[in-house]
Symmetry: C2
Subunit: 237 residues, 2 copies
């Protein structure tokens, strides 16, 4: 049913590069590597659906995924965008709590859930590692609640751009690549695509950003963007 694209030549896992293995000993890393397989996923494909049985745990190696929940009438809330180094699929008992879909082409490292669970008890420090990853997700979720509940459209867009900038931290150029479409941004920020588009245009008119193309944003005045993200409105708006 889902659009899995199996790797033609399943390359062996380069475990020491995995976030999951950070801080573990050589033998444990080897054990984790033996358990995982790479999986490729083309852009705009579903990895799993909310309510599916959670059979695997994944670490993203390359590309970007989005996670979202849907109301019966189709309203969608994107709960997060995950890029290389993020884990997913661990936070569930049996069933996934959200749908995961690729934004770009993605490479994942996949672990069978049963074997993965055993590691949590057997490898010292591994549970702590997962705990830290889950805390990070929780912190992001709390920031997002503040954004969704209390920020206006300009603050939401500014916060989103600052987040994207922090994520890649391409200190060189001030130009940012935005892989997701306007619909995904809108569903992440609790806005409509029209408001996203209008607000970006407004920031461009005020000289805070440039928009050379829909997927590229030039951060012309990052300081003001950070001000706007926190509600520190500048008189010029």
């Amino acid at each position: 049913m889902y659009a899995y694209t199996a790797t033609a030549r399943p390359a062996s896992i380069d475990a020491k590069t995995l976030v999951m293995c950070r801080g573990l000993g050589q033998s444990d890393i080897a054990r984790i590597a033996a358990m995982g397989t790479y999986q490729k996923l083309a852009a705009r494909r579903t990895l799993f659906c909310e309510g599916d049985t959670a059979e695997n745990v994944y670490e993203i190696t390359k590309g970007m995924l989005k996670l979202f929940k849907i109301l019966p009438d189709g309203r969608r809330q994107v709960t997060g965008f995950l890029s290389a180094g993020h884990l997913l699929g661990i936070a569930h008992d049996e069933r996934h709590l959200y749908t995961a879909e690729s934004v770009t082409d993605v490479v994942l490292c996949r672990y069978p859930r049963s074997r993965f669970d055993r590691l949590v008890d057997e490898v010292p420090g591994f549970a702590r590692r997962l705990l830290a990853a889950t805390f990070d997700e929780l912190r992001a979720a709390q920031d997002q609640m503040l954004l969704l509940g209390r920020k206006g459209a300009v603050e939401k867009i500014a916060s989103f751009l600052v987040m994207m900038a922090d994520r890649v931290d391409q200190t060189g150029g001030d130009e940012l690549h935005i892989p997701m479409g306007r619909t995904d941004i809108a569903d992440y920020l609790g806005l409509t695509i029209e408001t996203v588009s209008r607000t970006l245009s407004q920031l461009r008119r005020n000289g805070v950003i440039g928009l050379p193309s829909p997927t590229r944003v030039a951060l012309l005045d990052r300081e003001q963007l950070e001000q706007l993200a926190e509600g520190g409105y500048v008189e010029s708006l």
Copy 2:
């Protein structure tokens, strides 16, 4: 600085009742009990502030706390209400990510962070226990993101009431005690207190709930309330 109310007679910890100890062996439970002390906190007091050094981990034994974040200009987002059995203070590196304040009188079981951290590595199954608690919080946070980003006022209030009803699950009476004030509800749902008040009145007029007093809600038509929470609008609205 904070309004701690020390227990006059520090009763010994009844560790087997603690959520934190669920599934652990006798000796580990004893160890945790030896580490904890009870602490009382009167209603409307601050337990810790966002940005404070996280020195303790707590389990709530009695009463209710709220967690919230604040923007520079004072806008507030309540990220959660915690009642008996919930843990707090674990999800941080060094600094607290939110402010914790009591809603009612509260009894807490407090653990020094340094010793608590050691347990995570030394007691098998303990990290897994914390992981499960953190997943629960994360699941709640994701549901709240959907609520804040995509639900209207009626759906938000209905969801809130259903959540409160599930929490106590007082299957007997259909009357619910709401310990927090309208301001807290508003800041939890991303609304103003006026909208909270108006929406509750509207549900009362439609016969879905009764409001014998501001702190009491009678669930007259729970099925419809659950429909409303998920956006399944009934024609009568």
